[in-house]
Assembly symmetry: D2
Homo-oligomer: 462 residues x 4
């Protein structure tokens, strides 16, 4: 039981589910190799076994790369059972279905109904269709964890975040799972920029910007933000006013769907008084069609819709990189990801203490959202323990924007586990992005999209 030796904990067992794309996997490999206080083994499981094997090769290459501070033994495994048996931690980061086909449909099928999506993987027609094919996969993961590693801590990175984590808890309520997302980090950076610009400081570490987080993934809000003893909300107000018209974006980033000028964030702040804490392209999908009624609204609000073909290209590039690293064409370098997963692992092992935002079932930390729904708030990470932090109430007119999504997410779970197809059609009909359609149209859209993702759907849904 005691593994601690000279301040280092060795022999940690970690399962990594998915990540075949090598993008996310290399992130965590870099982060792991930089931590001298922990070491052990990583089991890689992917439905694309070849990908897992390639990842194992790269993972083991990290042990001898310049700057490596510890050692991790990577191996690809063939079954969930092999991956999970007796592990301390499980990381799940999968692509549900393919990007080329299913995700393509998620994003682009609704366009023929005049519905444009900035991302399409969280809510809206794309988000819910993605959820419907992902839930069965997470049912399988939850059952396997329950059987093979019931005491493991489980970290989810897959979208739709809320529904992935919710499914894990629905199937195995005692699971110790949480979900991590970096969207809030970007907003901390924006606040840091406001601070530096307005007060002439040169703060460079976004974790110095202390925030209270409340809401749901990709639609999170900050009701407090401080740097040391400096309240950042009045500073952000000035900053938002100053940049309201033009936004903040570098010339080179214009047109990049992963960038935006924060104008949606500024507008929401001026209207609601709290800081919306996700990329504009996510926020857009949660509110009425204020910022995306016509396709041309993207220019008006200075952001760009993500097209799926750019994702495909990005993925291919990453895979190519992987090949080149294995063959020696490209040098393997450690590049810290900016994600917090490895720090959270260290915290749970008692090697540090953190307060950061994660996704957990609502046990009362947000009094005005349904109990059990997965929400995103601060949590304390310390030895053996992850606990959500209580949030303050937000104005009722803002609650009303958020709760609609939370109830839709809970409804999807309720309907899915009851095999209630009509219930799911009802959710579509009342979904903020879809509900401007007629009843017939929303049903038709559901059916078209279901057809295109049918490989992954249960029979009763077709």
């Amino acid at each position: 039981m005691k593994r601690l030796e000279n301040g280092k904990i060795d022999g940690i067992k970690l399962a990594y589910i998915g990540g075949g794309s090598r993008q996310w996997a290399r992130n965590i490999m870099s982060d792991l190799i930089l931590e001298d206080k922990i070491g052990g083994e990583v089991r890689l499981y992917d439905i694309d076994k070849e990908s897992a094997e390639k990842n194992a090769i790269i993972g083991n290459m990290y042990n001898s790369v310049a700057g490596a501070k510890t050692k991790w033994n990577y191996k690809a495994v063939e079954t969930l059972k092999e991956a999970l048996a007796g592990v301390d931690f499980v990381i799940i980061s999968i692509t549900p279905g393919t990007i080329e086909k299913e995700m393509y449909s998620d994003v682009h099928t609704p366009e023929s109904y005049g519905i444009y999506q900035a991302v399409g993987d969280t809510v809206g027609p794309g988000g819910y269709m993605r959820a419907l094919r992902t839930i069965p996969m997470y049912v399988e993961f939850a059952n396997a964890i329950k059987e093979y590693s019931p005491n493991a801590w489980v970290i989810n990175y897959t979208n739709p975040m809320t529904l992935c984590v919710r499914t894990l808890y629905k199937v195995f309520p005692e699971i110790k799972a949480f979900g991590c997302c970096h969207e809030v980090f970007g907003t901390q950076e924006l606040l840091m920029k406001a601070l530096n610009d307005e007060l002439g400081l040169e703060v460079t570490d976004r974790t110095e910007i202390k925030v209270n987080v409340t809401g749901i993934n990709h639609f999170t809000w900050l009701d407090e933000a401080y740097y040391k003893d400096i309240d950042l909300l009045p500073i952000y107000r000035k900053f938002a006013d100053k940049h309201y018209e033009k936004g903040i974006i570098e010339e080179k980033d214009k047109g990049d769907p992963y960038k935006n000028a924060h104008r949606v964030k500024f507008d929401l702040f001026r209207r609601y008084g709290l800081v919306a804490a996700a990329g504009d392209r996510h926020l857009i999908e949660f509110v009425p069609q204020w910022y995306l009624r016509e396709k041309s609204d993207q220019e008006k609000w200075t952001y760009w819709l993500t097209k799926v073909y750019t994702r495909v290209a990005k993925l291919r590039k990453k895979n190519k990189e992987g090949e080149d690293i294995i063959s020696g064409k490209e040098e393997l370098v450690i590049s810290p990801s900016g994600e917090e997963g490895v720090q959270q692992i260290k915290s749970i092992l008692g090697l540090r203490t953190m307060i950061t935002n994660v996704n957990l079932p609502n046990n009362g930390q947000i009094s005005w959202l349904p109990k059990g729904a997965v929400v995103e708030t601060n949590a304390t990470f310390k030895s053996g323990s992850v606990k959500p932090v209580q949030t303050s109430e937000v104005p009722l007119n803002l609650q009303n924007l958020i709760i609609q999504h939370s109830l839709n997410q809970e409804s999807i779970i309720e309907a899915f586990f009851k095999k209630d197809r009509q219930g799911i059609i009802n959710i579509f009909a009342n979904e903020p992005m879809i509900r401007r359609l007629s009843l017939d149209e929303s049903k038709e859209l559901f059916e078209k999209m279901a057809e295109k993702t049918k490989t992954y759907l249960p029979d009763w849904l077709l």
Copy 2:
């Protein structure tokens, strides 16, 4: 203190606020004169003093009309204080602003933005603008009741029902107020028709149809309906299927905005499994634009938009009737109203016991709506006591339709009492009927409508 004598309670003091229009006032006069177990005095207060005086004349005429079973002494008073001092019951039934001007604007101003309203007095742009001018009036009533008759029972008939009752409790939390609406009664009649048609019965009393009511005013739902030991839900299902295409409406009623073919109700039942219990024209206003996106949707779903000029005509006719009754041109007859106010008064006096649906602050009777929000459920009426009945949960996808409105209503109260103009503009922007507009448009609409009702609005709102 003891007023009971030979089974009759005399000396009851009742204040009637509003009702100058004579329509609602004559309803209750008829109901009162038919109850032999109660009698006393009625004080009539209206900002249109002349109307109150005419009502007093008519009220006293009822005492000698054929079929009169008791005696009530009516008098018009000049102040709220005179009306309220020491009364047992207060009935409030006012027209906030005028129909010709303010209500006209409520209903028709939004049409230039493509927003059609079937009623326009509950939610939507019309309902909320009406609320904004009504709340200050109810603040005044609540304060007066607190001062002059804190122990009185208060019955509200004014729309927007929810926000009128909510304002009373916000200002004077110990008030004993509830709100009455007959929309559920119409649905009981429809269920009675289904029962009679399907089983060949001849039930004629809608109170024999026992229902559980849950939701908010004009968007109430039934999760149980019985006649004796017969479960009416399977019967209603057959009935709804049979009449789904054509609806149920008599030829002569076609085109009458106060009638409808129940097709919206049938559609909601088939989709949600619970019985929507209000007139179609109300239901339409609470859901996304499923049934009223284009003006032509009224034909498609077989209902007719209420035009305000029809209301004006109706009101004039009623007033003319009043004149004629006073002058003797028209005979005064007792016509029972079908409302339950007088029966509720009798119940509170201990002369009978009732279970019926009313509007009360949520004290837990609907677990999934905000505490304190005014909701409509069954309540028990007995000696000295009105208590809400616990409801069962409804499916989450239905909760989501309802809670948006309840939170908007709570938001209006929060914003109004904080004098938060931006908050009110935010509510408009996210209101189900308005939110298809752009942010600029919804703000512009708010301001146009505010201008047209400005006589009754507080300064900070203009």
Copy 3:
């Protein structure tokens, strides 16, 4: 499905579990034979088959007794399955264990530790030991109902009421069960006496006294009481003050353990301002040893401890009566029980409407008691529906007296279903009647009592 014919519902199927003692069974037989609108069959099941058979004989004799208004066909059955298959209603009224042995121990074993119990079947050492042997029986009933008659309405009369009903819901959460107790009725009679004495009225029907009920079985409280428009609380205050010293009891009733002088009730009213609504001998068991620290306190507060031998004698007399009726030595007469079970059945069948107090899981009707715990409040009884009525809050110092028991009851369920013997010993140690013992003593008492009732306990408890 439709059984209603000329206003009468025939063909009702009713299962009666227990009642072998004939006391409770004859109550309901009398009540059933007096209702002309209902008829059908009653299946009698008792572990003492002979008793059930004798009851069947008597039950069928009722059909030809003078005053019989309908017909019920009684038959004794051998299994729970035969009793339950397809019935509309189930009545459970059993004696868990024997009075001579197990109940004797419940009441008298604790006396050697200085703990006297006035009743010993609800809380305290006797109540909880009785619960521990009753829960397994109710697990069996709940499972059988789930299997053979899941849609039946289940009425429980057995004590400990709260834990019997709680077990049914724990095992089969969808069960439609409620528990009935007549203790509140006695308090309505006392209020009626106060009304008649103070105002010179001659009210004779206790159901005319309208009350709001809140609390848990045998420790229920009234926060409102009215007759017609007369508030009874000020009247009861005068009455309680007047009779505080001597109480109210007829000379002939002195010494009768089933009677009392209401002095405990008066004292609680003067201290808490609400009417305690159960017999004094029950109330005594729920509060600290205020009224029963020494055996002599019974004289001081004018009540008498129930001795188990009086119960045995009473039972034998009832059984003898039964024999004599069958043999014709004694005439069978209809004697209405004063219980409300049959009226509740009629209400559920839609033949009347009632508001009365029953025991149901807390779904929010008492906001300050745990969700799911069984509580006693008013409920509405109408066609196909039993729903609890929302209660108002009671003062915190009174909540504190009640919640301790509710949490102990919930703890017993939690510990029992987890097979947590230490948990049960902990509950004993903190039970209001037991907690003046040392830890060793309370454990010893538990073990002595468990030994004496071991025939009915699961192994892990011994």
Copy 4:
């Protein structure tokens, strides 16, 4: 607004209310002088002006003591207004009434009724009588803070902790107050000892023992305890079993009322499975008389009742020390207090981050205790923010021990602010330590104690 310069925040304004005794004041002076990143002024206010002035002298002496790392300017002020106007932080640490007279009565008056108290300042007759005289003082503080420094952070050290903090929030709900207590720290030290003993480690910093805290002040419980990745609960179980009979105490500490052998803690752990986290002498006062029925129980369970004369002696010694330091007879040395107040101040200023246990109103962090009641749980301390951490549920039989006190505390507040003397007598009658008395005795005890502390009580209480 920006005070941060080179990583140091200067110009902090701090008000210290009370502390005239010099014991607590010197604690914080030592802690402040050791922090090089903060500096500013401290205003000392005490009803004993002379004491405050002496403290100011000592405080300023610290600036030139060996090891001083910063500078604080101390001054004594005459009014609350002077103390509070515009400060950043307020520390309250008063002695309500005198130790010689009022506290003497708190502890020793109940002894004539057979009620012995181990401390007498939290619950029980002593705790509640102390509360009744302290609440009016805290009403004054809360009103003054509301007027003069509404944005200040307020740290309370006075007992009864729960009721002091509760009164602040009752009077000024927007106050930013929390209460600090070191009892949990002692339990962390005990867990550290268990860890070191069982695993042969040499951990010396109790903050390395990470715990989850839940409950109310002086009756807090730990449901998780870790050192790094080592779960301490199984280790503590062995440790508790091993030392159960003899406890753990050094020979020299025997008889010292501020020490104990942890046997009560061990017993509670074996029975409830969670770690009780306060000194035994506090725990004893919260449970039934399990550990203190007779005076002799202190020997049996190896702890010693605090006698008030030892407190008086201790106080005199401290005061003498103060005199000697001022006169130069005794050298002033910096002695870190082990309290966390100064670290919490630093955290709120953004100079570090902490997770520690404090007392805050229940906003949902303990789902099973009343909303608004003051509870003790972990909280996050970071820039401008103190937020409670969500706790897990504890077993129902343990909840039942705790909730009784929480409801009594809420009841005291309810009754006090309603001026409900009978309510307070009711609370006494049902208080766990008092309720074994008869009703007459508990009332008599209340009145005797009220008489002895009457200088500080409002008239309506006498």
